[in-house]
Symmetry: C2
Subunit: 209 residues, 2 copies
DNA sequence: ACCTGAACACCGTTCAAGT
DNA sequence: ACCTGAACACCGTTCAAGT
C-alpha cells in the first residue's frame, strides 16, 4: 500500500547505457542490457525514458553538456593576451579538449553528429550548446563576421578527424597526433590572418559569394 | 530437376539496400525490406550475403569504390600547371567532388567512417582505396613528407563537414557553402606554403614531434 | 507510485524441404 | 542450383496486475 520508492534513476539508466555503449558498441545497448545493469526489468525503463531512441538522445545530450563544460574550462585555462595570440591559443586548447573527450568516449563522440532517426533534432540542439564556446573563440580569432564559418570549419575538422580515428581509419602508419596538430595549426593560422590565397578561392565553385 | 537460374543478383541486392538506406535510413534496411524490393524472401538473401552486417559492409565498400572513381575523375579534370597552382586546384576539385558525393548519397557517406561492428575493417579498407587520389594530390601540394598528414587533414575536414551537414547541424543561419570553401581554401593555402605559424605550433602538446 | 510477468509484433538467422 | 516455409532466439514495447 505504501508507495514504493524508485529503485533506480534516470541518471543511473543513462550512465549504464553509456557504459555499455563504450564497452560493447551501439547494438549492445538493448533495453534488456540496460535494465539488467540498473537492476530492474526492461518494461520498467519506460517509466524513465520514452523509448530506446529517447534514451540514446538523452545519453548523447548529456554527453554534449559534459563536453561543453570541458570546452569552456579549456578556453578559460588560457590567459588573455594582447593581439591575436590569445585567441589562437584558446582555439588550440579547445580543439585539444575536444579530441581528449573523443578519445575518452569515442563511441559517444561518434554519436554527437549522427543521424539517430526522428529524434536527431534534440542531439543537434545539444551539440549546438556544446559548440557555443567554439563560436566564441572563433569570433575572437577570425572576427565577428567570419565567426560562424570559422567555428564550423574548426568543429568539422575536429569532429571528422576524431570520428575517423575512432573508426580505425589511420592505419597507414604515420603519427595521427602530428596530423591533428598540423590541421589545427593550419586552420588557426589561416583563419587568423584573414583572407586565404585568392587564387585558390577563385577556383571554388561560383555562386557562393 | 533443371537448376533454377538466379532470380536476383548481389548487385541488385546492394542497390536495393542503398535505395532504402538513402530514402528511409539505416534502421529501415531490414532483410525483409531488401528481400521484398528484389522480389525474393528474406532467407534467400543469405545465399548472396553473409548476413546483414556483411550486406552493409558490401554496400559501403561499393560506394567507396564509386567515390574513388569520382575523385580520380575530379583530379584528372584539372590540367597540370607549373608551380604550386596545379596541386592546389586539384585538391579543391577533389574536395568539391567529395562534397558532391556526400550530398547525393548523404546516409551512405555517413557510413564511410562509421563503426559498423566487427566487420568495420572492410569498410576502412574500402575507404582507404578511395583516399588514394587524396593522398596523391596532397603529396603534390604539401610534399612527400607531409603527404599522409595533409591527406588526413583534408579528408577529416571534408568528412566531418559533410557528416555534420547531413545530421542537420548547420541551423544557425549563414552559408554552409561559404564555410566549406573557407575551410578548403584555408587548408590548401596553409598546407602549400609549408610551416604553419610557429607560435601556434608551440602550444600543441609536447611529444608529438 | 513504481515495478513486473505475460503477451505481441517484428527482426535476423537457420535449415530441412521443395522445384 | 536456387528458393521457400517453418521455426527459433531475441528485441522493443504495451498493459493489466501486483505490492
Amino acid at each position: 500500500m505504501s508507495p514504493t520508492p524508485a529503485r533506480t534513476s534516470r541518471d543511473a539508466i543513462l550512465a549504464a547505457a553509456r557504459t555499455i555503449l563504450e564497452r560493447d558498441g551501439l547494438d549492445a545497448v538493448t533495453m534488456a542490457a540496460v535494465a539488467e545493469r540498473v537492476g530492474i526489468r526492461p518494461p520498467s525503463l519506460y517509466r524513465h525514458v520514452r523509448d530506446r531512441a529517447g534514451l540514446l538522445v538523452a545519453l548523447v545530450g548529456g554527453a554534449a553538456d559534459e563536453l561543453r563544460i570541458e570546452l569552456v574550462a579549456a578556453a578559460a585555462s588560457i590567459e588573455d593576451l594582447p593581439g591575436p595570440e590569445g585567441p589562437a591559443r584558446r582555439v588550440v586548447a579547445i580543439t585539444d579538449a575536444y579530441r581528449a573527450f573523443a578519445r575518452r568516449s569515442p563511441r559517444t563522440a561518434a554519436l554527437l553528429f549522427s543521424d539517430l532517426g526522428p529524434a536527431t533534432a534534440a542531439i543537434v540542439e545539444a551539440s549546438a550548446r556544446a559548440a557555443a564556446p567554439v563560436v566564441e573563440a572563433a569570433a575572437a580569432l577570425a572576427g565577428p563576421e567570419r565567426a560562424l564559418s570559422a567555428a564550423r570549419v574548426l568543429t568539422a575538422f575536429a569532429h571528422g578527424f576524431t570520428s575517423m580515428e575512432v573508426a580505425g581509419a589511420f592505419r597507414l602508419g604515420g603519427d595521427p597526433d602530428e596530423a591533428y596538430h598540423l590541421g589545427v595549426a593550419t586552420l588557426v593560422a589561416g583563419l587568423r590572418t584573414g583572407r586565404p590565397d585568392p587564387a585558390v578561392r577563385a577556383s571554388a565553385r561560383p555562386g557562393t559569394r
